[in-house]
């Protein structure tokens, strides 16, 4: 059987589907920011940004940008009525203190038991930048990863053990990918769902690891 990968928007919609009413959520830089566009307007979700805002709204209309009101990706955003500003140390206390319900991050690699590598590819001459990745990875009640399952070269980004430098140990709860949604457990991967037409054996072959049904 043939199958189609989830598009970036379909993947964002799949993540958004699992964010419950009332959740406080941090969306990482890059692909995860797309998730905000897919949270139904009927559902009230509080978005947190590491640089000191809670109740973040969508991008402003062209010409309405205010460069004192930006998100972690340094893009102009808006603040919803009821939103608040606070300083950096409080913002990271919200993460580290376990006050965030969910954070959604991108990844280079995730291990079957939830180790995360998303800040550094380990190349010798690369200048590494960590930002808030390590704080987010270990701080939120649930850390979800959103990524393509395979690299451009066709290798699985889900691995037995990460070869890239770690961001956090056993911190990823779920992986939302373009082919399947998986849970990371101390015993390894567990299937939540997969795209139509992709059979279980084929998914296991792509990942190269056993996946419990």
């Amino acid at each position: 059987m043939s199958y189609q990968k989830r598009s970036k928007d379909q993947l964002a919609a799949r993540v958004a589907q699992d964010i419950p009413e009332g959740a406080v959520v941090n969306l990482g830089i890059g692909q995860p920011t797309l998730v905000a566009n897919h949270i139904p307007s009927s559902r009230e979700v509080l978005l947190h940004s590491e640089n000191g805002l809670l109740g973040m709204g969508p991008a402003p209309a062209p010409g309405e940008e205010d460069y004192d009101l930006i998100n972690a990706g340094k893009q102009p955003v808006t603040l919803l009525p009821g939103g608040s500003f606070f300083h950096h140390t409080d913002s990271f206390a919200m993460m580290r203190g376990g006050h965030l319900d969910i954070c959604v991050l991108g990844a280079f690699q995730v291990s079957a038991t939830g180790d995360l590598a998303n800040w550094h590819t380990g190349e010798k001459d690369a200048i590494s930048a960590v930002g808030g990745a390590m704080d987010l990875a270990v701080g939120a009640k649930q850390t979800w990863v959103m990524m393509d399952l395979l690299t451009k070269q066709g290798q699985s980004k889900i691995v037995q053990a990460c070869t890239y430098p770690l961001t956090g140990i056993a911190c990823v709860k779920r992986i939302y990918s373009d082919l399947a949604t998986l849970e990371c457990t101390p015993r390894g991967l567990k299937l939540i769902d997969k795209v139509d037409g992709l059979d279980h054996a084929e998914l296991e072959k792509l990942v190269g690891l056993p996946i419990a049904k």
Binding site: D68, F92, D125, M134
Partner: protein, 233 residues
């Protein structure tokens, strides 16, 4: 009479010494005390250790301070950016030391210095390269890394309003590192866009109380800056 209002940027920065640890506020486009950084270049202090979230962008501000050869070491969380070419070149040439710190640990280490905390255990970074060689401990079944405070000699921060006692309010996400840096340094210099009379700042809304501030200096807001006319991207 207590009067922390400095007549000029040069006046505010007069006491910065060679070898100082200088904390500089700002995250992205918000809260960077550009005029104070430019003033520091003119002032001439060298052999500095700079604490900032980033390591300079483009050719102005912190990047210009680096380019002028005034900085020995930078402590930050996110040095590499599309336009961090000045830092990249100096670092690769071995002319600049880098201490990379996860952002929340950076902020908490700064706060700890201001709060009189000797050191603290944090879960962030446990088991990673950035915790190598650091003391760890299991507490209530969870693993933690011991992190020490970062003390500063001078904080350069950007606020919105201030009064002559040094009370400060900020503007939106320009607040970022300002309040913690103000606590962590022997001397805190804040630029503000507006100086108001004592009592005009709502005491319920003062973010940085006067005790943490040494000098304030008024910088007129350019029409193109945030809070003035909107700036095109």
């Amino acid at each position: 009479m207590i009067d922390k209002i400095a007549a000029s940027v040069a006046d505010a920065l007069a006491k910065v010494k060679d070898g100082a640890t200088v904390m500089i506020g700002g995250f992205g486009t918000a809260g960077i005390p550009n005029e104070l950084i430019e003033g520091l270049i003119v002032q001439g202090a060298k052999d500095l250790t700079v604490v900032n979230n980033n390591a300079g962008n483009g050719e102005t501000g912190l990047a210009a301070l680096l380019k002028a050869g005034r900085v020995r070491k930078i402590i930050c969380s996110f040095p590499r950016q599309a336009d961090s070419q000045v830092f990249d070149a100096l670092y690769r040439a071995g002319k600049l030391e880098l201490e990379l710190v996860p952002q929340g640990n950076l902020s908490e280490r700064i706060r700890a210095a201001g709060a009189g905390i000797g050191a603290f255990f944090t879960p962030t970074g446990y088991g990673t390269e950035l915790a190598k060689g650091k003391e760890t401990r299991e507490i209530n079944g969870k693993q933690y890394v011991l992190e020490y405070p970062i003390f500063g000699d001078v904080a350069l921060i950007k606020a919105e309003r201030g009064d002559r006692w040094g009370n400060l309010t900020y503007r939106m996400t320009a607040r970022n590192f300002g309040p913690s840096m103000a606590m962590a340094c022997k001397q805190t210099i804040a630029s503000v866009h507006e100086i108001v009379e004592l009592g005009q700042l709502d005491p319920e809304a003062i973010v940085t109380p006067a005790i943490f501030v040494s000098k304030i200096v008024k910088i007129d807001r350019q029409a193109t800056q945030a809070g003035g006319f909107k700036k095109a991207a």
